[in-house]
């Protein structure tokens, strides 16, 4: 999956318009990245990438790029 496709998945999850997110987007600046979104991210990682995501790992995500890297 390309980074563009991964970002589209995240935008869809956060109900953002296409093009809203960039790799350097800081997660703390996104109102939409709330506690519910973090739970959705766990489901997305499991469904799309077969990866388990812990609370510790989520806390380490500072930017969209960190999430993209985890998806690999």
């Amino acid at each position: 999956m390309t980074d563009k496709e991964k970002i589209a998945l995240l935008e869809d999850m956060l109900e953002l318009d296409g093009g809203s997110l960039r790799p350097e987007t800081v997660l703390a600046d996104l109102d939409e990245y709330d506690s519910m979104a973090k739970l959705s991210l766990i489901v997305l990682m499991d469904d799309e990438f077969g990866k388990k995501l812990t609370g510790e790992q989520i806390r380490e995500f500072k930017s969209v790029q960190n999430i993209l890297d985890f998806m690999d």
Binding site: E32, M36, K38, K52, G55
Partner: protein, 345 residues
């Protein structure tokens, strides 16, 4: 996985009670904007919840629900030999609220009564306990009461929106050749800090019992991993699959968790009962409440072959296979009734 099986116990009645006060999520905004509120409703499916008044407790609701079943079926109070009350919000630190309920329900002294300190798994654990006591004893009927009033322990509006007050009563009867009840149980105390109310009790007596700890992500991961694993093991053990069941009745933690459990156990979405939308997370009452909400007003002459699963604080989780006749599920009761114990505040 600990398995308990009963072939001489049937579930003869399920009733639930809530207060008369329903609180919408909009009324508890706590600084959130409309967009955040919409997202909350979309993700959790919660539109509101019931809250008891200051004088009303979960035991009051459970008492009303139990009395309703006993009266409707004209059960001889002398034949009810067990009252187990599963709750995280007992009326008192001591004694067990179940002891008070034995008297309030007009039951005889020939009665086993005690509380069980479990939350979201409390209904399934409670069924196991009551059925076990009945199986090995001479009581004709047993009552499982399960309910909570999280509104009395939660301070922030956001958390208040996630939880609701409700109680249930379930009447079990000794019945020869009943359809089997199978219950499986697990515990993982290493996760005790995931959901925790540590203060004001023996370990930390000097701090008031204010807001507890809730590790949302840890609990989410626990629920979507362990609950499906247990259900799938149960199905394998019993040589069944999801098609064999009329309904999947999960603890109503949040919609995302419930959908994941249904998906991972291959249950069709339409078989999963939902009450979280109107009642939020009602802890130990959520499984019977889902049956009441979906079937309490039905006149169907049908037996619901149901797979139930509760999971949460402990960490504690349990699943079961039970049969419930639709006619033994009563309509929801709304009540303001409370017990005046004569003590001063």
């Amino acid at each position: 996985m600990i398995t308990n099986k009963f072939t001489n116990i049937s579930i003869n009645g399920i009733a639930c009670a809530v207060s008369t006060k329903w609180v919408s999520v909009e009324s508890l905004k706590d600084g959130t904007n409309d967009e955040m509120l919409n997202r909350f409703v979309k993700n959790t499916s919660v539109t509101g919840h019931y809250e008891c008044g200051s004088k009303q407790s979960a035991a009051d609701l459970a008492c009303v629900a139990a009395r309703h079943i006993l009266d409707a079926q004209a059960i001889d109070r002398n034949e009810v030999g067990i009252v187990v009350y599963a709750t995280q919000y007992p009326d008192y630190k001591a004694p067990s609220t179940a002891c008070v309920l034995q008297d309030r329900l007009g039951l005889s002294h020939d009665c086993i009564a005690f509380d069980v300190n479990l939350g979201c798994s409390g209904f399934v654990y409670g069924l196991n306990i009551v059925a076990s006591l009945m199986h090995s004893g001479n009581a004709k009927y047993g009552l499982l009461l399960a309910g909570d009033t999280p509104s009395k322990g939660i301070r922030s509006d956001n958390s208040r929106n996630l939880f609701g007050d409700a109680s249930s009563a379930t009447l079990l009867a000794k019945t020869e050749n009943a359809t089997p009840i199978t219950i499986v149980s697990r515990t993982d105390g290493s996760g005790f800090k995931a959901i925790l109310r540590p203060y004001g009790y023996a370990k930390h007596p000097d701090r008031p019992d204010t807001e507890g700890v809730f590790d949302e992500i840890g609990v989410f991961n626990f629920a979507i991993d362990q609950a499906p694993e247990m259900i799938n093991e149960l199905l394998l053990q019993e040589n069944l699959n999801s098609d064999a069941f009329d309904c999947l009745v999960l603890h109503q933690a949040n919609m995302m968790i419930m959908k994941q459990i249904a998906k991972r156990t291959k249950f069709k979405k339409e078989k999963m009962l939902v009450s979280i939308d109107r009642f939020a997370n009602t802890s130990a009452a959520s499984i019977p409440l889902s049956l009441v909400l979906n079937y309490g007003d039905s006149f169907d002459e049908k037996v619901l072959h149901s797979l139930i699963c509760g999971y949460g604080v402990g960490l504690s989780w349990a699943a079961g296979i039970i049969d419930v006749h639709v006619k033994s599920i009563y309509p929801l009761i709304e009540t303001d009734e409370y017990f005046d114990d004569g003590l001063y505040d």
